[in-house]
């Protein structure tokens, strides 16, 4: 039953809301994005130098939306109709959108996704028609960047169903947001999960016919301290046999900084077990 509700609510995460527009100059910009867990195209933006905030690129949204909390942090004031103009709305990749007008509101899709932690990151808003129409956009999922070209024209202003705009125009779907918040609570989800990096050992590897070999040990790194030597043949990582550097990395991938990593190397025909104290590093 719950899975059914889940499927349904996921299916419903596709709707809409209402509104204004502005023109721009010629030049293309690469805009980095990433995919959220439910495969939304997520871009980051700084508003008036604050942020970055996470936005979903949504041709199904009539306008830019961002939450009250974002507006407060970025110092964007809402007019009597609930709209605010951003002095500076900068997308990651360097594209600055002039006079971006957005509706300060929390569409139910955001409540739902954030409540369940569905996106894998907190979503702060949607970028919809009033902004998107000013650009020609090329999206290729095989690349981690989109291409945005400002167009020299003034798109038509969209109109809403009635003058209500925002969530009032979504056709009685508002309850889904709170329903998914409820589900999220049951499953114990958070909007922003804690993130850490794979710990660094400080070994460079090269692949030879019979497996990975230590090409060099970075001086002063944990592997140096633990006694790994250049030329050591890497046999095991985290107690699993390895046949390539890619496999070695794979087996080490979930070992965070501060943890230890067990390595087994072969040196002059002898097998040696070493324990590396992983550090934060890139």
């Amino acid at each position: 039953m719950r899975i059914y509700i889940l499927m349904l609510t996921v299916a419903l995460l596709a709707a809409s809301a209402m509104v204004a527009a502005e023109p721009a100059k010629e030049k293309s910009y690469e805009v980095p994005y990433r995919l959220t867990l439910p495969k939304h195209l997520m871009v980051r933006a700084k508003i008036n130098g604050k942020g970055p905030f996470n936005f979903i690129l949504d041709t199904g949204a009539p306008a830019l939306f961002f939450t009250e909390a974002v507006a407060a942090r970025a110092g964007v004031k809402a007019d009597e109709k609930g709209w605010g103009e951003c002095e500076r709305f900068e997308l990651e990749g360097g594209l600055v959108i002039p006079k971006a007008r957005g509706r300060i509101d929390t569409p139910f899709q955001l409540e739902g996704m954030n409540g369940m932690g569905l996106a894998g990151a907190e979503i702060h808003g949607l970028i919809g028609y009033n902004i998107l129409a000013q650009y020609r956009m090329t999206i290729d999922l095989a690349s981690d960047r989109m291409l945005w070209t400002p167009m020299a024209w003034t798109p038509e202003r969209p109109i809403g169903f009635g003058d209500a705009g925002g969530s009032a125009a979504q056709g009685s779907l508002e309850f889904i947001g709170s329903m998914m918040k409820g589900l999220g609570g049951m499953l114990g989800r958070k909007a922003t999960p804690a993130v850490t990096g794979r710990g660094q050992a400080g070994i460079l590897l090269r692949d030879e016919v019979d497996g990975p070999v230590v090409a060099s040990v970075l001086k002063g790194s944990p592997s140096d301290t633990a006694g790994v030597k250049q030329g050591d043949r890497l046999r095991k990582v985290a107690d699993r046999s390895v046949t390539s550097s890619a496999e070695a990395l794979d087996f080490a991938a979930k070992h965070a900084a501060g943890k230890t990593l067990a390595l087994q190397v072969e040196r002059s025909g002898k097998s040696i077990d070493l324990t590396i104290n992983l550090v934060e590093g890139y």
Binding site: I3, Y4, M7, L8, A11, A14, A15, S16, E30, P32, L37, P38, P52, L57, D58, T59, G60, G117, G120, L132, R136, L141, A142, M151, P155, E156, F161, Q170, G171, L173, G188, R189, P193, A194, V195, T196, G197, R198, Q200, A201, G202, I203, L204, D207, A215, S216, L218, G220, S221, S223, V237, S245, A246, L249, K254, A256, V279, E280, G281, Y282
Partner: protein
């Protein structure tokens, strides 16, 4: 126990659809769209040769949706029993063998059948609109959206979209997603440097506090004290930002790094190395 039930239901829901994707080779197709007064766009869609139907094109939709009217008309309801719990007329997902958006054809595209209230609302105002074209279709293409010309161009791409529902449920049910769990991000190569987070008046900033001699970062010219501003064009204000920006690096892959050093902005190119 609850999780076991979810998993069993999930398998029951999804396993019947598992089949190999048949690649469809075709050229770029430009499809004119209709811009509704609300700023939404609609496109003509044929399903298994039936139609055309009018659907909303939505980059923010993780799934494609069709209503019961269309599903019945296009013969998608065969073998679909009516569930006891079917709000919004939901009938689950089906795989459409031939999914065509204005002349661009894709094979075996999943759609969910339901009477989405927002779609119904649009239909009431703008004439028959029977669903939403979302990620499972457009992700297969290099898509260009041109609001000025009112066209969508679909050029066959190399990305093979995963099953969104499956991916989400897997993510929700994985131990990593439990409360208090920490996600470990791992790039595919090593650069050999470390950073320290500083709080500046402008906000958080990452400052390089360690560069291993002879490592890839050292060879690429990174120095201790450099303020990292961009990695592969992504902002790097926090360690989490840096991890995400470096999560896609590969051995021998170039990493573009912008730093501020003594008040000057410079761009360096580092080369990732295989290693741990």
């Amino acid at each position: 126990m609850k999780k076991t039930i979810i998993v069993v239901l999930l398998i029951a829901c999804l396993s019947s659809h598992v089949r190999a994707e048949a690649p469809v080779a075709s050229a770029a197709v430009t499809v004119p769209f209709t811009l509704l007064k609300t700023g939404h766009m609609t496109v003509p869609v044929k399903l298994n040769g039936k139609g055309p139907y009018t659907l909303i094109f939505d980059t923010g939709a993780p799934m494609s949706i069709v209503n019961n009217r269309l599903a019945r008309d296009a013969g998608l309801l065969k073998d679909k029993p009516v569930a006891l719990f079917a709000p919004f007329g939901s009938r689950g997902e089906v795989k459409v063998k031939d999914f065509e958006v204005g002349g661009q054809k894709a094979a075996d595209v999943k759609v969910a059948i339901m009477d989405h209230p927002t779609v119904e609302l649009f239909s009431k105002h703008f004439g028959p609109i029977d669903g939403i074209v979302g990620f499972p279709f457009f992700a297969r293409y290099k898509v260009t959206v041109d609001y000025q010309k009112k066209t969508l161009t679909f050029e066959p791409g190399t990305y093979n979209p995963p099953d969104v529902m499956q991916a989400m449920l897997r993510a929700i049910l994985s131990p990593e997603s439990a409360d208090g769990a920490v996600r470990v991000v791992s790039g595919g190569a090593i650069l050999g440097f470390g950073v320290n987070q500083e709080n500046r008046t402008s906000g958080p900033a990452l400052v390089v506090d360690r560069v291993y001699l002879g490592g890839p970062a050292d060879i690429g010219g990174l120095k201790k004290g450099d303020h990292l501003t961009l990695v592969n064009k992504r902002w790097t204000d926090t360690p989490a930002d840096l991890l995400e920006a470096l999560s896609t690096i590969k051995p021998n892959g170039a990493v573009q790094v912008e730093v501020e050093r003594m008040g000057k902005t410079m761009t360096l190119e580092l080369l990732g190395a295989a290693g741990l």
